[in-house]
Symmetry: C2
Subunit: 200 residues, 2 copies
DNA sequence: GTCTATAAATCGATAGAC
DNA sequence: GTCTATCGATTTATAGAC
């Protein structure tokens, strides 16, 4: 639906200097499809087709489907880390930083009402593959640990609980907004969360 | 793992009087597996095997896999309705009723940390089947509408928002508890929610 | 190094035996 | 009415051609 072309013709550190952005296209397609269609319902053929890459050719860039999932998780983690670093760079006070994160959440309300939170849905789905430690759990811990830092900088003793509460409020609202297909559930949640931050 | 045998040898309104509890066993197995393994990962063979019914025999009791899913949703809805009716019967005041619901949530913390909220996970997963109105959305609306009634009886103008907030806090905490495999996230959430109800 | 053709396995569903 | 045997479609993965 949306055009996610992060093309960069023959750049980056590939061994041979003869690569177009095929791996990047496959990864971008996988990120979209795993979010919109779900991990289990997305086939490698779907990914290859959206990336405009030959169907069997996926296995040249990824060993297995689980490798694709791992790459998607790492891409999400990199994006979250970059977002948090950007917020830290743009805002000095912990309160402003927390509210900037809430604002950033709010900028994707329509997408989340349609397909759910990218982090939340993938965590929920990957939990069903009973691996010891879910590889998606790191995605959740990134923003939570960061929020805990901010709350701690504000002098809150229960910084860990406040961070969990904020994330839970957001993820729960994302689930309800997605289930009811109603983005306004997320705007209401953002308003309440911001009010709580101001009242600290 | 847990024994869900709602056996009732040849009862209920079947056309012929010659039915053991096979359909009931299949439904009970489906309820468990859809929760623990997920909708997409659960096969009809898995369900038949857990119900100790011949593999192909599922199709005598259910037309298609989607029919099984529909039956599971309806079973969940019936259970939720029964729980809410029971709470209304046992408690007179809206505050006590809301807190009784939170207590009931809390009684399943370990199960939820292991497999997620049965309602939340099925809503999240079924949303990926882009049907107009998700059949699982009714599951979410049942407790939300009921909570809204209680808040309205307490004289809250923003009863709808309070109900959404409570449900979101619970579902978000369930997702985090499941992702981190930590039931204490749910006990912390329940404590906060109860505090909010008392402060009304 | 890249991709086509195909193997191997799995799953939903059906036809028909008992 | 109940269930066995099997079909057809799909999907992951590989072997090997170019």
């Amino acid at each position: 639906m949306t055009d996610v072309r992060t093309e960069r013709s023959s750049a980056a550190g590939q061994p041979t200097g003869k690569r177009q952005g095929k791996r990047e296209r496959l990864l971008a397609a996988a990120i979209e499809l795993l979010h919109q269609e779900g991990v289990e319902r997305t086939t490698l053929a779907d990914i290859a087709h959206r990336a405009e890459v030959p169907v069997g050719g996926v296995y040249y860039y990824f060993k297995t489907k689980e490798d694709v999932v791992t790459a998607v998780i790492e891409a999400h983690a990199a994006e979250v880390r970059a977002s948090l670093a950007d917020i830290e760079h743009r805002h000095g006070s912990p309160k402003d930083r927390l509210k900037a994160l809430v604002d950033q959440f709010a900028s994707r309300n329509e997408l989340i009402a349609e397909f759910g939170c990218p982090l939340g849905t993938i965590c929920s789905e990957l939990d069903k593959r009973h691996v010891e430690t879910s590889p998606a759990a790191v995605l959740m811990r990134l923003p939570i640990a960061w929020m805990e830092e901010q709350y701690r900088a504000l002098g809150c003793d229960d910084a860990d609980e406040l961070a969990l509460e904020l994330m839970a409020a957001y993820e729960g609202s994302a689930l309800l907004a997605n289930t009811m297909r109603d983005p306004s559930i997320l705007t209401g949640a953002a308003r309440r969360i911001n009010r709580g931050i101001d009242a600290l």
